[in-house]
Symmetry: C2
Subunit: 485 residues, 2 copies
C-alpha cells in the first residue's frame, strides 16, 4: 500500500497546502494578498445527493451535459466525499478541512444548528481576499453565512423550486457583470435531492427550458446497496428524472459560461455532496455512500475525455482550487497545513502514483442522529471505526420517509443489497473489508487472525490521522488543539 | 399533584409570557418598544458550578455576603436549573427557553461549538430594545455573541484569573456611568469552577481584596452524592475556598451597587449555572445536579429574610426579569409563549400553591459527551427518560480529571453516595424515584407495578412538555416546528 498520503499528513512543517507540480497551464505564485496575475476563474458545480449515476459511466440515466463535460475534461472514477451528509460535505469543500475539524459536525439548518468554528476560513473568503469576485447560486447549507462571505447569493434555495434554468441564467448574468475580474462561482443545485414529499423529487410539474426525461421503472439500474423491489425501481426512476433535470441545468450553465467569454480561463469542477438518497448510500461511509461523480475540465488541456483512477477525496478540492488560482490561506492560519492536496498535477494521468487511500468521517446527520464513525479506504481494504457501536445506525429522515425505505421495511427478509437490515443498523466497533474479494463490504474481517496485521496497520494510520486532524472524538482528549489533554 | 404548570404549558393561545400578578412595586405595562416608565434595574449574578453550599443553608462553607443577601431578600430552598451544563444553562437564563428549544444543546467554546438558533431572542437583546443599558461582567459562554448584544462586555473571562474585585469595581464604574438610564447588568463569576489544573480551583495565589478562607478537609460537609474519602475532602475544601472568594466578590459588587445610588431600584438575583463540579452533581439531572442556590432581593420588600419552597426553575428567570422591567418579547416572536413564569408574585410567600414541579433536559456537555435525558420532578417523584440508555453516561472532563474522581476510580467498591458506579454509568430507559422514601434517587420504581399509574402520568406530562417545547429529540419528528413530521 502506498504511504504517500500518510507521509503527506506527517508533513506538518510546511505552512499552507503542499506545493504541487503545476499543471500545463502554469499557476501564479501562491500569495494570499495580491490578485492573481492571470484571470483564472473557477466554476464549482455542486449537485445534491447525486450518486455515481451518469450516462458516461454506463448507467441508464441520461446525462448528456455531464457526458460532454467528461468528454472535454477528466472523469475521476475513484473520487470520494469525506463525509456523506450535506452540510458536513459542503463545509469540507469550502474549507479543505474534515468535518470533525471545521466544526460542521452535522446539518446546518433549523434545529440541527451545526456551524463552522468561528476561526475557520473558507474558500470564498480566501479568494475574496485575493481580489476575486465571488458568488453562490443556489444552495448554501453551511453556517454561519458570514464565514462564507460570498459577494452575491443568487437564487437561494427555495424548496421545492427546481428551476435550473433561472439558476443558469443568473450565473451567466453575474459572470458577464464581472468584467475582467477573476471570479469564483459556485452553482449548487437542489437536484437530485428528494423534495418536500420524499417520493416526488420535484418531478410534479414542468420546469422552464427543461424537457422532462421520464424513466420507466424497468429502465433503472439497481445499485448494489438496494433490493430489486417495484417501489425501489419507481423511486429510482423519479431520482433519475431529477438527475436529468439537473443535467439540463448544467448544459444551460455551461452555455452561459461560453457566452460570458470566460470559459477559456475557467476551471470547471462538477461533483456531488454525498451519495444518492437511498438506504445504504447517503449518510453512510460505505462505498456507495461516498464514491461520487467528479469531473474536472481545465481549459487548454491537451488530453480530453480522460479517465483517472486516483483516489481523490473532497478534502482535495479546496487545495485544487487554491492551486489553480494561486491563492494561499493566511500565513498565520490556525489550521495549516490543510490536509488535502491539489489534483491539478495528476489531471493528465490515468493511474497516478500515490493516490491510493482516502479518509472519511461522520458524526451526525440530523441533531438526534448521532453515529460517529471514522474510516480509511485503500485500493484493497476499507476500515471503519464505529465509536459508539452500541447505538443503532440512524437513517436520514428523507430516506426514512421514502417509498424505497417503506417498501424495504414492509418486505420481510429484504436486504440492502447483500447487507441484512440487522447488519446495517447494528455495526461492530471495527469493520474491515477486503474490497477485491468483497466489494459490497459484507464479510467483516476485523476479527480474522489472518488480517490482524492489516487491521493493526489501518488502525494505526487512522489514529495518526485523527490526531493530525484534531478529531474532538479522540478518547481522553478534551481539547484536540492541545491546551488540555 | 398540582397541574398548574402543566395547565400553563397548555396555554398556547396567549402570546408572550403569562400575565402574572404584579409585585408590591408595580411594574409598568409590558411593551417591547417603549422605555419603562420607572428605572427598574436588574443585577443578575451568576456563579459557575456553585452547588447548594452556603452558610445560610447550614453548610460549613463561609458565605457572609450571600447570607446577608438572603437575609435582605428571599432564599428559594427548592430552586432548580433546567439543565446541569454551563452553556446550556446560561442559554436558558438568557432566553427563557429550554436548551433543547434554544439550540444551545451543549458547550459553546472551542470544538464543542454549540450555539443559539439564529432566530432566538435573548434577555439583553429584548431589554436593549426597550431602552435599557446592558452589560456583562465576566463569563459569557453562550454563542453567538451577536444574539446577546450586550452594550459592554467588561472583564471577559480569562482563565485562570479569579479577580473578583476587579469585576466588582468594573461593574460599579459601569453602573455609575449609566446616569439615570435603566440597566440590566449580568455579573458572571468564574468561581467556584475548577481552574486549569482541576485540583486547584484558582486557589494557588492571593487575589486583590480577598482574604483567603482556607478550609481544613475535616471541616467540609460531604454531600449525599459523594463518598467520604480523604481526597474528596481535600477537593471539597478547595472548592469551598473558591466559593468564599466569590462570596467576597459578591460583597464588593453589592457595595458598588449601593455606591452607585441605584440599589433602591434594582432587582438582585443570585444563582448558579449548574451543580458543584463533582461526580454525580454537575452535568447530571439528579437532585444534586440541578438543585441550586437562588436568592432574590427586591428593593422595598416588606418581608425580609424569607424562605420560599416554591419549585422554581431557571426557565422562570427570564420571565421574572421581563416582569420586573415591564418588557415583553416581540409580538411576532416565533417561540411564544415562553414556558416559564415570573416568580415576583410569590416572593412574599413561603409555600406558594402551584409551584410543585420542574422539568429538566440534557443533551450534551462536551461535543463527544452525548447523553440525552428528559426529566420531570415533582414534590413526590422524580422521573427520567434516558433516550439512549445503551450509552455510557459520560463525565465532564474537568470532573474526570479531578482529585475526587481519581480517588473514586482508584478505590474499589466506592460509591457515589448510595449509587454504585455501575448504576451511575449505565441507566435504564426510564427511572422513577419516590423522593419521600428515597431522596437519593437510588431505588428505581419504573418497573414496579404499584407505581404504573404514577409512571404513566409522569410519562404523559413529559411527553406533552416535549411536544410543547419543540424537542428535536422526539421520536419520528424531524422538524418539531411542524413543517415536516
Amino acid at each position: 500500500m502506498s504511504i504517500d498520503r500518510r507521509r503527506f499528513l506527517a508533513a506538518t512543517a510546511a505552512a499552507g497546502i503542499l506545493a504541487s507540480r503545476r499543471p500545463a497551464v502554469a499557476a501564479p505564485g501562491a500569495s494570499g494578498k495580491a490578485a492573481p496575475q492571470r484571470k483564472r476563474n473557477v466554476l464549482l458545480i455542486v449537485a445534491d445527493d447525486h450518486g455515481y449515476d451518469m450516462g458516461c459511466t454506463g448507467g441508464s440515466v441520461r446525462t448528456p451535459a455531464l457526458d460532454a463535460l467528461a468528454h472535454e475534461g477528466v472523469l475521476f472514477t475513484d473520487a470520494y466525499a469525506s463525509v456523506s451528509s450535506c452540510s458536513s460535505s459542503r463545509a469540507t469543500l469550502y474549507t479543505g478541512l474534515y468535518s470533525h475539524t471545521n466544526g460542521m459536525y452535522g446539518l446546518a439548518h433549523d434545529v440541527h444548528n451545526f456551524s463552522l468554528l468561528d476561526d475557520v476560513k473558507t474558500l470564498p473568503w480566501m479568494l475574496k481576499q485575493a481580489g476575486y469576485a465571488t458568488a453562490l447560486v443556489g444552495k448554501l447549507h453551511v453556517k454561519p453565512e458570514a464565514l462564507l462571505a460570498y459577494d452575491a447569493w443568487l437564487e437561494p434555495e427555495r424548496p421545492p423550486v427546481r428551476d435550473v434554468a433561472v439558476m443558469g441564467h443568473a450565473a451567466g448574468k453575474w459572470m458577464r457583470e464581472q468584467g475582467g475580474k477573476p471570479f469564483f462561482l459556485t452553482v449548487a443545485y437542489s437536484d437530485p435531492h428528494r423534495a418536500g414529499d420524499p417520493s416526488n423529487f420535484g418531478n410534479t410539474r414542468d420546469w422552464p427550458e427543461v424537457k422532462r426525461e421520464r424513466y420507466a421503472p424497468a429502465e433503472v439500474t439497481i445499485p448494489s446497496h438496494l433490493p430489486d423491489l417495484p417501489d425501489v425501481r419507481r423511486d429510482l426512476a423519479e431520482y433519475y428524472e431529477a438527475v436529468s433535470r439537473m443535467d439540463t441545468g448544467v448544459s444551460i450553465l455551461l452555455r452561459e459560461l461560453e457566452k460570458s467569454g470566460r470559459a477559456d480561463d475557467t476551471l470547471v469542477i462538477y461533483l456531488s455532496d454525498n451519495g444518492r438518497p437511498f438506504p445504504g448510500a447517503k449518510d453512510n461511509l460505505y462505498y456507495e455512500g461516498i464514491r461520487l461523480p467528479l469531473i474536472v475540465r481545465v481549459p487548454g488541456a491537451s488530453k480530453r475525455g480522460a479517465r483517472n483512477n486516483a483516489m481523490v477525496s473532497w478534502i482535495d478540492i479546496a487545495p485544487t482550487i487554491l492551486d489553480w488560482t494561486g491563492v494561499a490561506p493566511p500565513k498565520d492560519y490556525h489550521y495549516l497545513p490543510l490536509p488535502g492536496r491539489s489534483i491539478l498535477p495528476i489531471l493528465g494521468e490515468s493511474d497516478p502514483k500515490g493516490w491510493d487511500e482516502v479518509f472519511a468521517t461522520h458524526s451526525f446527520h440530523e441533531i438526534d442522529q448521532y453515529y460517529p464513525t471514522r474510516s480509511l479506504r485503500t485500493r484493497k481494504y476499507s476500515y471503519f471505526l464505529n465509536l459508539h457501536p452500541e447505538l443503532e445506525v440512524p437513517i436520514a429522515s428523507d430516506v426514512a420517509r421514502s417509498p424505497s425505505w417503506k417498501a424495504i421495511a414492509a418486505t420481510p427478509g429484504t436486504k440492502l443489497g447483500k447487507r441484512t437490515l440487522e447488519a446495517f443498523h447494528h455495526r461492530p466497533a471495527e469493520e474491515l473489508y477486503d474490497l477485491s474479494a468483497d466489494p459490497d463490504e459484507i464479510a467483516n474481517l476485523a476479527g480474522d487472525a489472518k488480517h490482524a496485521g492489516v487491521l493493526a496497520d489501518l488502525r494505526r494510520q487512522l489514529d495518526a490521522w485523527r490526531t493530525k486532524t484534531r478529531d474532538p472524538w479522540q478518547k481522553d482528549v478534551t481539547d484536540p488543539f492541545g491546551k488540555t489533554k
